[in-house]
């Protein structure tokens, strides 16, 4: 936990340590911070801590069925060691869904953040009257939840509705079936990019606004072009924001669920185990195999942690030092 709290040192410095350095008053207030923290800690324990621990516990248990599995006592829960993990990791549908999500992430994260960064830089450069309008328009999809976004795009993908296929047909080209197995991954990725670009753009744009105007102006006087100013000054300065948006996007990508689940009635190429999280859902609620579902959940959680922490470690020291 050394890289994330990039801003805490400053917060720490300005904090007034009340109880500790004022004897005589300390007694009166010694329980106060805990009282303020109590609701958060109770909720945190019940809905974050306990589920995490419970998932770990379940993943190490299994149900042993004796006889026909009927009647009392015929189904006994017992320790299973790591057998659930070997079962899940060797499941023939697990690796393809991991591969799918990896490819999906490789498409979504760079395109979404690249688009967001480009738009933020263009608006910040102030070279177009369309800036204000574009900012609002690009932010708009953030108000549309993933399920509704998938509904809208799902209909737009239908060849009989899609205006794009109308245009392509008019040009004498045949429009591809977006729900075919070779396209459906891009179809889902597009929905995620559409939904996520606006929020990331606002975050990056806000970071860009904190750069003093004199900095760019001085570079311009030195003969630097807009592109050079963006690459050499602006992007390095907002690197911490880029890193945070990257990590949050990565976490969101690994848990993609709403988009493919919503599209399933329209696209039969999306299987029940299309993403790892859909596999968790199928195991838990369709197969009633909560132990396999727990094991898969733990695998996804560990992978997410490893990826986001690994990334923060990789770039963290360099990125956050600039804040000092």
């Amino acid at each position: 936990m050394t890289t994330l709290p990039a801003v805490t040192p400053a917060a720490e410095r300005s904090a007034v340590t009340t109880a500790a350095d004022r004897p005589g008053r300390g007694r009166r207030r010694s329980g106060t911070p805990y009282a303020f923290l109590a609701p958060a800690l109770v909720l945190f324990t019940a809905f974050l801590g306990a589920p995490v621990v419970y998932a770990g516990y379940l993943s190490l248990r299994r149900v042993k069925v004796s006889g026909l599995g009927l009647g009392r006592g015929s189904r006994v829960e017992q320790w299973a060691g790591l057998s659930n993990y070997t079962r899940v990791l060797t499941d023939s549908e697990f690796l393809p869904s991991v591969g799918r999500i990896a490819l999906y992430g490789l498409i979504v994260v760079p395109l979404m953040l690249g688009g967001a960064l480009l738009m933020a830089l263009l608006i910040d450069a102030g070279r177009s009257r369309a800036g204000r309008f574009a900012r609002t328009a690009i932010f708009l999809p953030y108000a549309v939840p993933a399920v509704i976004a998938s509904l809208l795009w799902g209909f737009l993908y239908l060849p009989r509705i899609s205006p794009i296929s109308d245009v392509l047909n008019g040009a004498g080209l045949s429009a591809p079936n977006v729900f075919s197995s070779s396209w459906v991954l891009y179809a889902v990725a597009n929905i995620a990019i559409w939904g996520g670009m606006g929020f990331n753009m606002i975050v990056l744009y806000t970071a860009l606004r904190t750069i003093p105007g004199e900095l760019s102006e001085a570079a311009r006087i030195d003969g630097a072009s807009d592109v050079q100013i963006a690459l050499r000054i602006k992007i390095p300065v907002i690197l911490p924001s880029l890193i945070m948006t990257f990590v949050f996007s990565l976490i969101a990508t690994l848990q993609v669920f709403a988009e493919p689940m919503t599209l399933r009635p329209l696209a039969n190429t999306i299987s029940a185990t299309w993403t790892p999280l859909m596999m968790v859902y199928r195991d838990a609620f369709i197969r009633n195999d909560i132990h396999a579902a727990a094991a898969t959940s733990v695998v996804i959680a560990v992978a997410t942690f490893a990826l986001s922490f690994g990334f923060l470690k990789l770039v963290g020291s360099r990125a956050f030092r600039q804040e000092d």
Binding site: L4, T8, V52, R127
Partner: protein, 285 residues
């Protein structure tokens, strides 16, 4: 400011920038434009007329949607307002108290608690849904409003932001002065710190509002009774029915449009509160 406007006046307009920005805006507006037009079409027209040609059946579609099983759709909307509104309000309040304590008090266990909360930021929330369901099932709370509301009230990221807001916006001297005047800790928090943290709290509220409204998996697995559904789960069920009765599609489309309208209005009116620097955690309102 004078320097900034002078610089602006000198900058040349760039047609390339305009083209790129308009393209980006068009990409983002296309599905929104489509749903507005499609919701005016009758079921027959949906698949037969040109995509972007509007028709005149909007009110028929809204009436048909409202008639669906005695106005179930509007119940879904009310449920969504309850889950996202009350959940986000509670979350902002819980986060404000926790953030205030972490920023303004020194006490044993503080860094352990803060590090736990930071670890919580990185826990993929959706992964918790299955164990949350099983635990709530043990106490008989699944398929109730509480099953969605309670897990929505905790936001580690909200607490993290509130700690930063409290440290930045509430000067220690002001709190000290309040205490000199004999105000208790609760009074100092509720009457002095809370108003000072208000812009930040609006941001935390909005973040959590969107997170709850976007969270499909939690209500999807917690709720079996469709009268408790939020509009997202309800509409996704309607779409499923559309596979066998295509007439349902117009209701799905009209429902999608009506469900995003209030949110779009809320977002555009509160746009300035979104100017959050994720890395620095400060609100540039």
């Amino acid at each position: 400011m004078a320097v900034a406007t002078a610089v602006k006046a000198r900058t040349r307009r760039s047609p390339a920038a305009t083209v790129l920005l308009v393209l980006g805006a068009a990409y983002c507006l296309l599905p929104v434009l489509w749903v507005v037009i499609a919701s005016t079409k009758s079921a027959g027209e949906l698949f037969s007329t040109f995509t972007l040609t509007p028709s005149t059946h909007l009110f028929d579609n809204v009436a048909a949607l409202s008639d669906y099983r005695g106005g179930l759709y509007w119940r879904w909307m009310a449920n969504t307002a309850l889950y996202a509104g009350v959940g986000a309000l509670a979350s902002a309040f819980v986060s404000a108290m926790a953030g205030f304590a972490l920023a303004r008090y020194a006490f044993p266990g503080k860094s352990v608690i803060f590090n736990l909360i930071l670890a919580g930021v990185l826990v993929p929330g959706v992964i918790l849904a299955v164990p949350q369901y099983l635990l709530l099932a043990k106490v008989g709370m699944t398929n109730t409003y509480w099953a969605v509301l309670l897990p929505s009230m905790i936001s580690p990221y909200g607490i993290y932001l509130c700690r930063i807001f409290a440290a930045a916006a509430v000067p220690g001297e002001v709190l000290e002065a309040a205490r000199m005047d004999g105000a208790g800790d609760w009074h100092a928090f509720a009457r002095v710190a809370l108003p000072m943290m208000r812009p930040g709290l609006v941001t935390v509220f909005l973040f959590q509002f969107v997170a709850i409204w976007n969270n499909f998996m939690l209500p999807y697995i917690m709720l079996g009774d469709d009268r408790l559904f939020p509009v997202t789960v309800g509409l996704s069920g309607l779409l499923n029915q559309g596979a066998t009765q295509p007439a349902m599609y117009t209701s799905v489309i009209t429902g999608a449009l009506l469900s995003v309208l209030p949110l779009v209005a809320l977002f555009l009116s509160l746009q300035r509160y979104w100017q959050v620097d994720l890395a620095a955690g400060a609100v540039k309102a």
